[in-house]
């Protein structure tokens, strides 16, 4: 965080708490309604921007621990050598231009009764409504030995784009030709259903070009490819025969960095680069705030407002939510969750009833440097079922992989980055 941001914020919270001491809770908020957003990913950034677009009178503070946003979508192309970290990184200046106060810090606790957020560097921020868009954290304990192996740098998940993306690319570049890259996929639900299969394709494309004797071995805990299965399998058969091998029902229960092996329930499999994605759950701040409701993993919310079913006044977005039926944990969905929350909050702050939104999911996956495949769906509030449901007859997948879909995939990426952050 910049020094002056910190001072401004410290002044704001000091003012708020001294006022509170004198006149009580009702005056702890500034004259303008303040919304605090925790997490500047696709969900949180979009919520912050759209609240400002739709009601510029609202004071929006975004708390984000990173200095810039690194996109998971397209990060698999970085692993393949077809994109760069620079290309998938976007700063927060765009949100500042919309009047969002971006604070670089980590939210470490929420007091839902007092409606305050505590920051790691000290100080509390008061809010009228809170948006928590924490992404995922991992249940490391479910893969024995993973956390130690990851901390030693030998085994990576690279399932949050950033330092591990860079390191995994380095390991792939250093691997000798003839080596084996293992990608282990957890049971669904996990972040980005087609993401692992795109990653396998990108690494296979790199091997075919640079290390043709090498292999990609996919160990999937799920019985079969969980998204766009027909399209992925056709691409693998046509483009990467002898390079990419897929095994379903192959759940990793442990890793051993010393022997560089992934432990399945019945056997150990050795590799040269181990990319193990452990099962995940809603991010730590959701856990610490008591927002997790389901299987100790996800946060159930009201899909008309994204408001937590457990803690009033807190809206939860993105991968952290208990997904509605047929809804993937995707960037498109997180972005649209941000819009549902923004629309609801703007109405709620004016004392009006929110109207449910209809939203669109579109997920592109590259299967080679230029060709992509896609899945789309349209989701509508169903009062009878009390959730968002995919509209029957709408949506579907690409007719076939194509360079046209690749062009539209890049359009989607550049556009959703801008829609969320610029």
């Amino acid at each position: 965080m910049k020094r002056r941001d910190f001072l401004k914020l410290a002044a704001a919270s000091a003012g708020a708490s001294s006022l509170a001491g004198v006149t009580g809770c009702a005056t702890t908020l500034p004259a303008k309604a303040r919304v605090v957003v925790i997490g500047g990913g696709f969900g949180g950034a979009t919520a912050a921007k759209y609240i400002r677009l739709w009601d510029p009178s609202v004071d929006v503070v975004l708390v984000e621990r990173e200095s810039s946003f690194t996109s998971c979508p397209i990060s698999n192309l970085v692993l393949g050598g077809f994109s760069s970290m620079q290309e998938i990184t976007t700063g927060y200046e765009g949100l500042r231009r919309h009047g969002v106060q971006v604070v670089r810090d980590e939210a470490i606790a929420v007091d839902a009764a007092k409606r305050t957020v505590r920051l790691a560097r000290g100080g509390d921020i008061a809010y009228e409504r809170l948006v928590v868009s924490p992404g995922i954290d991992f249940n490391f304990g479910e893969v024995q030995g993973f956390e130690a192996a990851m901390n030693s740098g030998r085994v990576l998940h690279a399932w949050k784009a950033g330092a591990q993306t860079v390191e995994l690319r380095r390991q792939l570049e250093q691997m000798p030709d003839g080596g084996v890259y293992i990608l282990s996929i957890p049971l669904a639900p996990y972040r980005c259903p087609p993401g692992p299969y795109e990653r396998a394709s990108m690494v296979a494309a790199y091997f075919r070009q640079a290390k043709p004797r090498s292999k990609v071995l996919v160990l999937d805990a799920n019985p079969d490819v969980t998204s766009k299965a027909g399209l992925f399998k056709a691409a693998w058969k046509d483009l990467y025969p002898g390079i990419l091998e897929y095994r379903g029902n192959a759940k990793a229960v442990g890793v051993d960095a010393a022997s560089m092996s992934v432990k399945l329930e019945v056997e150990d499999v050795k590799g040269d680069v181990l990319n193990v994605v452990p099962p995940h759950r809603a991010g730590d701040i959701a856990l610490n705030t008591g927002l997790i409701t389901s299987n100790n993993r996800w946060c159930d919310i009201d899909w008309r407002t994204m408001e937590s079913k457990k803690v009033p006044g807190i809206h939860v977005l993105g991968d952290a939510t208990l997904s509605a039926p047929g809804m993937p944990k995707s960037a498109s969905m997180a972005n649209n969750h941000g819009k549902i929350a923004a629309a609801a909050i703007v109405e709620q702050l004016r004392g009006r009833a929110p109207v449910p939104l209809q939203i669109i999911n579109t997920c592109y996956s590259f299967v080679s440097q230029k060709e992509a495949i896609r899945v789309s769906s349209v989701h509508q509030w169903d009062a009878g079922q009390g959730t968002l449901v995919a509209i029957k007859g709408s949506g579907g997948v690409s007719a076939a992989r194509s360079e046209a879909e690749g062009t539209y995939a890049w359009n989607w990426a550049r556009t959703i980055w801008a829609d969320s952050l610029a």
């Binding site: 109207v355 579109t362 709408s394 556009t415």
Partner: protein, 97 residues
Amino acid sequence: MRVLFLAAAVATAVPAAAQDVQGRNLAAACAICHGTDGRAVTKDLVPLAGLSKEYIVRQLADFRDGKRPATVMHQIAKGYTDPQIDALAAWFAAQKR
């Protein structure tokens, strides 16, 4: 008759603002590919902002009915009713390019 006229006036006047918000909310979902308020980010898509309402309505109907070929829009358009298409087309038409 006066009562009826009054009722008609109210029916069109009140939903006008609501319709605007409905159009805004529907259009927001399109922004992941078409850009905030239909202002395109790349050259690969035609900007929706400022196109005529009639043109947008026709294109979406043609996508939905399979008259205009598409990679994705034929699948998306099937999720929208005529009144929804009307509302979001009006919103895009009213946006600055």
